[in-house]
């Protein structure tokens, strides 16, 4: 399991307006491209010094490809990163303010404490 890499995907997509739109429109293509081209980039190092060992599991790749935020959270992805990016992706599709956020909460209503461990 690679919680860190899921978090890195969410973080690097969320901070780039073009990538937010690309991930919304083409999640499968964006995940494939990102895993091949961006997963190994250390953010404060030049590209040739990239990491060589980072990959998603099949289940993680599937969850990212299907925008399945419940699964991502249950893998232990960071709750703040998931919420922030998915608000950017889908809040616009809901008419009422906070309707997306409340639906998000409802889809987690089966959770009991303790929640999935977000430690990386």
């Amino acid at each position: 399991m690679s919680k860190y890499l899921i978090d890195k995907f969410l973080y690097t997509i969320d901070r780039d307006p073009d990538l937010v739109e690309r991930y919304r429109a083409d999640p499968a293509g964006t995940v494939t491209w990102w895993e091949a081209e961006r997963a190994g980039l250390i953010l404060n190092c030049p590209a040739p010094e990239r990491s060589t060992w980072l990959n998603f599991t099949d289940a993680e790749r599937q969850a990212l490809t299907t925008h399945d935020y419940v699964a991502l959270l249950e893998f232990g992805a960071h709750n703040f990163l998931v919420l922030t990016l998915f608000i950017a992706l889908f809040e616009r599709d809901y008419e009422e303010p906070l309707a997306f956020q409340r639906e998000f909460a409802g889809r987690l209503s089966h959770w009991t404490l303790p929640y999935p461990d977000i430690a990386t």
């Binding site: 901070r15 953010l43 709750n79 703040f80 919420l83 922030t84 950017a88 909460a105 929640y115 430690a119």
Partner: protein, 294 residues
């Protein structure tokens, strides 16, 4: 020596800016009461006549990332650009440019490290809404130099709650020993019970009103003993999965001093989270009225 002119602890609610500036049908029904409370709270800083603001907050995965995560970091730069694209996107927050006080930054880093806190530093720090929300609420002119102090309340493993208190106590002692005639306000923001990305998020109140009631009482009365007896890194998951932000309140209780009641306390029960506002006047123990004296 420098004067600690005010110690201010507050929640930081990124929706305040949008709510307070909205008009017509866009203006939420709670906005007027919220603005009135903020304007009253703002007066508690204005009355203290600060020259410089030490601002305690926490980066929300903006500049700081999991490949190199500091526990406590002090900015040392002449300027701080502020707010990020995703904060403009979600909260409508404006971009700001804040001046820094490099002399005080350097002093706090040197004396803090010598006091046993292995502080990280940054010479190029873009601060986020944990710093800009209290600028917007308490000093919207954004005209005073700042020293940002970032804490990790976000990415486990985090420091223990008691360590936040110790750092707050050290900041108070270091400022009071600073050879300067400046009046320093220490402003820190955190959270009461809060849930983000969980089933209890965005409810009609904060996720744990009972925790909020106790927390407000601890802060208002300076009851660090009870707070530290009840709060642990494990327990803070219970009131809401983003409640570790309460540790920044603990830090500010350390700045204010154990057993020292706040001179000003207010709160506002909002959807999603409870707002809470506290001010201490160490230089004028008589309280708010005393702080108005020249």
């Amino acid at each position: 020596m420098a004067t600690v002119a005010a110690v201010i602890a507050s929640t930081h609610h990124p929706f305040y800016y949008r709510a307070s500036t909205a008009t017509g049908s866009d203006r939420p029904p709670f906005a007027d009461e919220w603005v009135a409370k903020i304007e009253s709270f703002r007066q508690t800083l204005t009355r203290a006549r600060p020259d410089v603001l030490v601002m305690v907050g926490s980066d929300h995965f903006h500049q700081l990332w999991l490949d190199n995560m500091p526990q406590f970091l002090i900015g040392k730069a002449p300027f701080y650009d502020a707010n990020f694209y995703n904060e403009e996107r979600e909260f409508g927050l404006p971009r700001l440019l804040l001046r820094g006080d490099e002399e005080l930054s350097a002093y706090l880093l040197r004396t803090g490290i010598d006091a046993g806190f292995d502080l990280a530093f940054s010479n190029e720090l873009r601060v986020d809404h944990s710093i800009t929300c209290p600028i917007i609420t308490l000093r919207p002119e954004a005209d005073l130099p700042i020293v940002p102090v970032y804490t990790n309340i976000f990415a486990p493993p985090m420091p223990q709650p008691a360590r936040f208190v110790q750092l707050g106590q050290a900041i108070r002692a270091m400022i009071e020993a600073w050879p300067s005639d400046k009046r320093v306000a220490v402003i820190g923001t955190g959270h009461l019970s809060l849930e983000l990305g969980g089933p209890r998020q965005f409810g009609p109140h904060g996720p744990d009103p009972e925790f909020d009631r106790k927390a407000v009482e601890w802060i208002a009365s300076g009851d660090l003993k009870s707070a530290l007896a009840e709060v642990s890194l494990d327990s803070l998951w219970q009131p809401g999965n983003a409640t570790h932000g309460f540790m920044d309140f603990l830090l500010m209780m350390g700045v204010a001093g154990a057993g020292v009641a706040a001179d000003y306390t207010d709160s506002l029960d909002l959807f999603h989270t409870m707002e809470a506002y506290f001010t201490w006047y160490p230089a004028h123990p008589a309280g708010v009225a005393g702080a108005e004296a020249p």
